[in-house]
Amino acid sequence: MADPPPAPLLALRGIGKSFLGVRVLDGVDLDVAAGEVHAVVGENGAGKSTLMKIVSGGYAPDEGTVEFAGRPRAFHGPRDAQRAGVGIIHQEFNLLPERTVAENVYLGHEPVRRGLVDRREMLDRTRRLLASIGETALPADSRVGRLGVAQQQVVEIAKALALDARLLIMDEPTAALADQEVELLYGLVRRLQERGIGLLYVSHRLTEVFDLSSRITVLKDGRRVTTVNTAQTTADELVRHMVGRELSSYYPQRAGPDDRGPVRLTVRGGGNRKLRGVDLELRAGEVLGIGGLQGSGRSALARALFGVAPFTTGDVELDGEPVRLRSPRAAMRAGIAYVTEDRKGEGIVARQSVLDNALLASRAVFAARSGRAARTARVRELLDAVEVRAAGDDQEIRFLSGGNQQKVVLARWLALTPRILLFDEPTRGIDVGAKSAIHDLVRRLATDGAAVLMISSELPELLGMSDRIVVLRDGRIAGELPAGATEEEVVALAVGAVREAAA
């Protein structure tokens, strides 16, 4: 157990919260010192986001006290917490894409001179603020919608700092970032630390937690399991605290040489605006991992195969027969399923029920009314089989955790009994427990004879799951690696550090 700092910036004592009689938090203690990065980990549903909302003024706790900067506080809403110096960086950014960086940073407290907004002052202050966190390259008068994700995050942070935040809550800050952008965030976090700002860092990615934090608090089922000094713990131990299992049992058994069936899908010379000269074979029974940097054409490959942005050159063969996959509908009819990377934007219909979401694809493809009852029954079975946890089939899907939403998406595709499954970042933003459930499911599909193509930015996942790995770079295939390849080999191919790797 780690020692609490002598005079913490934030001290939570015995925090409890219930919703509709369900206890979401129970007796949680937590301290953050100035200049400290305190990580909070736990499965989805462990109570992390509720706890963060209590700290940032979104909810009032039912029990316990919040002490900030030495004084007990009861924040009335986010604005009150902001004024007191608690800023929160949400997973989905709270920015206006049509407005400039400066307008976003000072929204709600624009500098005013003689009753009018002082635009020059606003720009100057924004520039100074950005410079103070080492972000001089970011133009203060640029429209936010033109910026990349990482830069938008910087704007979010600047927005919090403009309110003199002394405590920053970062909720899954790397969820939307590419690998090289994560490095930039690391630098930023350290500079914030040097300024004496306390950070509450919520993340699923243990690597980051170990890289950045000095202490880690593990939540499980609304209770604090433990708080440990980061230097004195291991990833294995943390995962055990979170789910009660060892890291080594994390990935399911790979396919043996006998498990691989015939070639299902062949691409020869496939190309379009984002891809060039792609040659690929996908066999029944295998999980083919696709690696590469953000923008290397990984998603473009899946989208080409699913007919979203089809190949404009080259040939595709399905079970030896030439096919033209010109629309998602055509791809679905050919037995291909695609689990998109952007779950919120492309994967789910947020305001529809769990059942409607799960039925979406079957309804669209099998238009006939006949067999509707059977279809619904089958989808219900599938929802059970993938262990979706929801209040009921008619609950709106937006109220489910990311992991459960993803399971519903999976059930939707399984209802079509696809022979080829394309997974694009299937476990992004999903907690550890649901993650391994999805890993198991992906492997089981392959074992049952499906051909699986899986894109992942998380190297351990890519290496742990794949029977072979194809690495893309600049829209071309940079090389192929067998099972048992190392992270270094994948990265080397992805960044072009080696000319070619033999298959």
Binding site: N94, L96, E98, T100, L107, V112, D141, G145, G148
Partner: protein
């Protein structure tokens, strides 16, 4: 992301001004071939008069649309305002200013009601303002069969017919109101907050913006603009007219002008300058067709095509922007 895309956010000339220029040039040529003259004194004056009336309404409409709301009651507010002003003046110059004040105050009250229904009662703006509009319609239909009251002669002389060269005083009023609205949007906290509320109400709220207050203010301003348009129409007509707003299609035309001007119907993007461009475009098309003595029904068809085409162009642009 290239360095080029990091240029500061300069708002390009809205496409509506290009369309306006084209319309004027082509219209001028066509009218010329037809043996007429598009830019003679009387057509220009009447074009600017049409633009002034619609423009006053559309500038107000721009504010609510920018905030993510909408006002369908403007046509009825206009009619009501003409009646209140004309009846209170009753032909006397001495009563002119108090009467204008009364008309504007009543208009503002309608705006306040709209704003409260949209924010506090959380009724969809489309339904809330339509409902308030119908309420006013009931009152107008019940109380008036035709023109009533008499506008003050001084008002008719000035706002109604006074000109500076070919430019009517009313158009100068429109320019002043537009300038004020532009200033409010770009230089006041209210303006910044309004665009934020329209862009993303949740972001605005979490940034400490008092969304309801901002949106109510926008609705009051919108109705004030409609009330002002009513006063202007009373000055033109010499009396109050219970159906002038609806017959002039000021509700839908004002929304069309806003959209033509490049303001996003969902809010959060756009401005009043584009709206004035949209108003001038609609007025120019009118002027050209009037000169050519085109059939009124055909005229409507053409306007419909132009509005749809404009929105299609904006949609394509937005798509390209998102794709890049």
């Amino acid at each position: 992301m290239t360095a080029l895309s990091l240029r500061p956010a300069r708002h390009a000339v809205p496409g509506v001004f290009v369309a306006l220029a084209l319309t004027l040039v082509i219209g001028w040529l066509v009218v010329l071939l037809d043996g007429g003259q598009l830019f003679n004194q009387s057509t220009t004056v009447s074009l600017l008069h049409v633009a002034a009336g619609l423009g006053l309404v559309a500038v107000g409409q721009t504010l609510v649309i920018l905030g993510g709301s909408l006002d369908l009651s403007v046509a009825f507010v206009i009619s009501l305002s003409t009646l209140v002003a004309a009846e209170a003046m009753n032909g006397s110059d001495g009563a002119m200013l108090p009467a204008i004040g009364l008309a504007l105050a009543i208009s503002a009250a309608v705006g306040l009601l709209n704003g409260l229904l949209v924010t506090k009662a959380r009724i969809n703006a489309f339904i809330a303002t339509l409902g308030v509009g119908l309420l006013l319609k009931g009152y107008l239909d019940n109380g008036y069969d035709g023109p009533a009251g008499e506008s003050a002669p001084a008002l008719v002389r000035t706002l109604g017919y006074q000109r500076v060269g070919p430019v009517p005083l009313s158009f100068v009023l429109l320019l002043a109101v537009t300038a004020a609205a532009w200033f409010a949007l770009s230089r006041t906290r209210f303006g910044h907050h309004l665009v934020a509320v329209g862009g993303d109400p949740e972001v605005a709220r979490l940034s400490g913006v008092r969304n309801d207050r901002v949106l109510i203010t926008a609705h009051v301003l919108c109705s004030l603009c409609a009330g002002l348009a009513g006063v202007y129409l009373a000055s033109r007509l010499g009396s109050g007219a219970p159906r002038v707003g609806t017959e002039g299609l000021y509700d839908l035309e004002s929304i069309a002008a806003v959209v033509l001007g490049g303001t996003a119907l969902a809010g959060g993007r756009g401005g009043v300058l584009g709206t004035v461009g949209g108003v001038l475009l609609l007025a120019s098309i009118d002027a050209v067709f009037n000169q050519l003595e085109v059939d009124a029904f055909f005229k409507q068809v053409i306007r419909g095509v132009i509005i749809i085409a404009a929105v299609a162009v904006y949609a394509r642009r937005a798509m390209r922007k998102a794709g890049s």
